[in-house]
């Protein structure tokens, strides 16, 4: 009885998943043949460079037209880092590690300067070429992770202290909010950089597009420090 019951439950689960898959197939068939005009996208494509001054349209949507959603996402990273560092014990710094050979140490010493330059290039030129604050921040977070894996956690916490990392994360978050308040002091809405008529400059140069390069820098610092702090907390629990 129980063996037949187990086989029946297995086939029941597979059948349910297949039935829901065919149901979703019919919905996608109707989504594909919709032919509505997208008015908002056409407005952003034709008027975006003139109103904001940034060539990269995704950056102008993410930091100027919908800047409030970026603030919400920065809050998500802050909450995750705070939750994880609350759950780790304070004194125990044991970590599984071993002594590596000289090939690995020399390769890491050669690669780290290139990682710094690549990260800073993606952050600063975020409004001219593809990139932005988030990608640059993730690459900058790789450097403390590499040092922690190879040299052990005691050495890594001696050189790059956790207090400095949480200070950088705080600077990133509060800097973003203060730059948003600058829009209120100029007489317009919160986080407004094209509406408040800041100096827009020529599109295509480094210093242009009002507030957007500085917002990129703050988000890059915040994401980098937050991800490095998350990794160190996860390693310390073992």
């Amino acid at each position: 009885m129980s063996r037949v019951h187990k086989i029946f439950r297995k086939f029941y689960k597979i059948g349910l998943v297949l039935f829901l898959a065919i149901f979703l197939l019919f919905i996608f068939d109707e989504i594909q043949n919709l032919d509505i005009k997208r008015y908002l996208s056409e407005h952003y494509i034709s008027e975006g460079v003139q109103e904001t001054g940034a060539i990269n349209l995704v950056t102008s949507v993410l930091y100027d037209y919908r800047g409030f959603d970026t603030l919400g996402e920065a809050t998500v990273i802050l909450t995750a880092a705070a939750t994880l560092s609350f759950m780790t014990p304070i004194k125990k710094v044991k970590m599984l590690g071993t002594e590596f050979t000289i090939i690995i140490y020399q390769t890491i010493i050669i690669i780290i300067p290139f990682l710094v330059v690549l990260g800073m290039n993606l952050i600063f030129f975020g409004h001219i070429s593809p990139g932005g604050g988030f990608v640059g921040g993730v690459i900058l977070a790789m450097i403390p992770i590499l040092v922690t894996i190879n040299y052990g956690i005691t050495f890594s916490e001696n050189k790059l202290k956790p207090n400095h990392k949480s200070l950088l994360e705080g600077i990133g978050a509060i800097g973003f909010i203060l730059l948003g308040l600058l829009g209120i002091f100029a007489g317009s809405n919160f986080l407004a950089s094209g509406q408040a008529n800041f100096g827009l400059g020529n599109p295509g140069e480094l210093i242009s597009a009002g507030l957007i390069p500085y917002l990129n820098l703050m988000i890059g610092i915040k994401v980098g420090a937050g991800l490095a702090a998350i990794f160190n907390s996860l390693i310390k629990e073992g």
């Binding site: 908002l40 952003y44 990269n56 932005g132 996860l234």
Partner: protein
């Protein structure tokens, strides 16, 4: 019915199948990650136009791809990463308390 939409459906239901049928906690976390990836692929597929270029206007182009869902996908990637980090920390705490990673045995021992 084009091919990328079918791939989205296959990935989504492979992820849900992994969450339902497995007994190991870490494989369930991997399943959640697969479902997340399929939804980000769906967001990018909505904004596609045949023959369009990327939305970076250094010259004058005729047909440019929609930039709004791409910004939403960027947000979704970061949020998915933070979710997996918190889940893994909770899995470590469960292992230290109960000593096993099997879902059936954890359900039996309560306290």
């Amino acid at each position: 019915m084009e091919l990328p939409y079918v791939v989205v459906i296959i990935l989504f239901y492979l992820g849900i199948y992994t969450i339902i049928m497995n007994k190991n906690l870490i494989k369930i976390v991997v399943g959640v990650n697969i479902v997340e990836s399929s939804l980000i692929l769906l967001l990018i597929l909505i904004s596609f136009k045949l023959g369009g270029t990327a939305p970076i206007l250094d010259r004058k182009y005729e047909l440019v791809v929609d930039p709004i869902p791409q910004a939403l996908a960027l947000t979704a990637i970061v949020i998915g990463g933070s979710l997996i980090a918190v889940m893994l920390a909770l899995v470590i705490k469960i292992y230290k308390r109960y000593g096993t990673l099997n879902v059936d045995e954890i359900r039996k021992l309560r306290g």
